[in-house]
């Protein structure tokens, strides 16, 4: 039995289709990442799975329990950290934790080993009201509260949004240690670079799952040749490459542009020649393999073309 199993699940708010017949499975003990921008439908999917919303149609099981009929059983065995900070701001760090432990009929000491690692980092502030913690510490406390009853599945809705690169890295290190204790993790993020930290990912956009696989396989399935290009003037380079009839897409990626040539046998010297004629300097072109963001954009464009 898979810990999460979703069949043709749909949800609309008025005329807005938030989730459009989504089907997938999450395997036991894996970190499954739901990757997509704001408005993709990630939070709706989370709220359906943790039984806080009812679907319009379709079905979903968590740990074998039905998300509509068996909501009480699901609530007992999952941990949920919503995107918005939702602890009690006027209770102290320790009070929040013992409150959540009590609600789930357990004590802090019973499962302390599970949270020890994370809780130690906020313990010096255990008397401070949760509302007065810094962003990173709030996040750690919320994670402890979601773990205190030793859930079988942990749901984390955008835990790293708005968090700086250093804290994000630390957070993912914590997740790997939680996974090592046998807990299945269902996590969402708008940061495409976090895909590589998951065992499997679902790329989501406009209420649909565009692709589901391991990050490596999604990258392997990228259907185009990809080149990285740079020159001394990035802005002008973007314009000139977009005008070139040999090239399909041009997207900036950090200090390089990623471009897809129209024909598979379009060679690098040909493009270099074109750019030199346009007086570009310090031109660098090389063959590269795609990353998740390349794949995501390609799937997004494909989806939009289907619609029109």
């Amino acid at each position: 039995m898979n810990p999460i199993s979703v069949h043709h699940l749909s949800k609309s708010y008025g005329n807005t289709k938030a989730l459009n017949s989504v089907t997938f499975e999450v395997n036991e003990g894996e970190i499954f990442g739901l990757i997509g921008p704001d408005g993709a439908g990630k939070t709706t999917l989370f709220r359906l799975l943790v039984t806080l919303l009812l679907p319009d149609c379709g079905s979903a099981q968590v740990l074998g329990f039905d998300c509509v009929k068996d909501y009480k059983k699901i609530r007992k065995s999952v941990g949920y950290m919503p995107g918005r900070f939702s602890l009690y701001p006027d209770l102290s760090v320790e009070e929040n934790l013992s409150f959540f432990a009590t609600i789930f009929n357990t004590t802090i000491s019973e499962n302390y080993s599970l949270i020890e690692d994370i809780y130690k980092q906020i313990e010096p502030f255990k008397a401070r009201p949760a509302g007065k913690l810094s962003g990173g510490m709030k996040q750690k406390l919320a994670l402890c509260c979601a773990l205190i009853h030793k859930p079988d599945v942990l749901f984390l809705d955008e835990p790293t949004t708005g968090v700086d690169a250093v804290s994000r890295k630390e957070f993912w290190e914590m997740l790997r240690r939680i996974k090592a204790q046998g807990i299945t993790i269902f996590v969402s993020t708008p940061y495409m670079d976090e895909a590589s930290l998951c065992d499997r990912v679902g790329l989501m956009q406009g209420g649909n799952i565009l692709s589901i696989d391991t990050p490596e396989n999604i990258i392997r399935k990228f259907p185009h040749r990809l080149l990285a290009v740079r020159s001394a003037e990035t802005f002008r380079l973007i314009g000139d490459l977009r005008e070139c009839d040999k090239i399909n897409t041009v997207y900036p990626f950090g200090d390089f542009l990623h471009i897809t040539p129209k024909s598979p046998d379009c060679d690098i010297p040909e493009i270099k020649d074109y750019l030199e004629k346009k007086a570009h300097q310090h031109i660098k072109i090389s063959e590269i393999s795609a990353n998740i963001e390349d794949c995501f954009m390609d799937l997004m464009v494909g989806q939009n073309e289907e619609k029109h």
Partner: protein
């Protein structure tokens, strides 16, 4: 190549304290006209405090800061007229339509009716918003909102635009369209002061500063910073600096 010489922002030994806590310590830097200046730092490093001072919202404890030539202690009204501001959290009124938002902000900045009309038509056309011009902003996808918010922040043709995490949560295609708008504005001579948690966006800046615990620990072009910190990407530079 654009020529940049004039300093549009000049900050010297700027300090901001809250009680015993020093949020900004001896900040010293300049931003040139038409430059895209990336203002990076970990959460809680003091970025927001610094931006509030530069926008004329808070007074510093000590030090000097001139924004478009105006003093942050005494000329805050002039600063506000000469800058634009947008953030991820607040930029547009959700229960107004795009057209109403433009009219509202145009009115606040004292633009004439005919100019507001002209700017509205241009904005709707450039952003492809004609279809949704009568919808409330709350019903628009985040990426569209942010592009509209940027346009609104530039209605009064400010000298400097402050963008506080403008692309957080925006899809990857729209995020790049947004940066294209930034490039175009910089090309017209508007100075861009931007914060972001996307390290690939740090590479799009002309120069980048990295704040750690209230201080600017590094400031240079992305290429020089990568060289200096022996890193392949700005992400590596950031991790090396912010983790200390």
């Amino acid at each position: 190549m654009k020529t940049v010489t004039e300093n549009i922002i000049e900050v010297e030994m700027l300090v901001k304290k809250f009680g015993n806590f020093t949020a900004c310590r001896d900040l010293t830097f300049e931003v040139k006209k038409g430059e895209i200046f990336g203002f990076l730092g970990a959460n809680g490093a003091g970025k927001t405090t610094a931006i509030k001072i530069l926008c004329g919202l808070w007074k510093p404890t000590s030090g000097k800061a001139l924004i478009g030539g105006f003093d942050v202690y005494t000329e805050t009204n002039k600063i506000k007229k000469n800058i634009g501001y947008m953030s991820q959290k607040f930029s547009l009124y959700e229960d107004l339509t795009p057209v109403e938002n433009i009219r509202f902000y145009g009115g606040i900045y004292g633009l004439s009716r005919s100019l507001i009309k002209e700017k509205t038509a241009l904005a709707l056309h450039e952003l492809g918003l004609e279809e949704v011009k009568d919808l409330h902003v709350s019903a628009m996808p985040l990426g569209w909102k942010q592009k509209l918010a940027f346009t609104v922040a530039m209605l009064h043709e400010p000298k400097i635009v402050f963008l506080d995490e403008p692309t957080g949560g925006v899809d990857p295609i729209t995020r790049r369209q947004f940066w294209n708008m930034i490039y175009q504005a910089a090309h017209r001579g508007i100075t861009i002061f931007v914060t972001t948690h996307y390290m690939d966006e740090a590479e799009y800046c002309d120069r980048v500063s990295i704040m750690v615990d209230g201080e600017i620990k590094a400031l240079d072009t992305p290429d020089k910073l990568k060289e200096m910190y022996e890193s392949q990407t700005m992400n590596e530079v950031f991790l090396k600096l912010a983790r200390g």
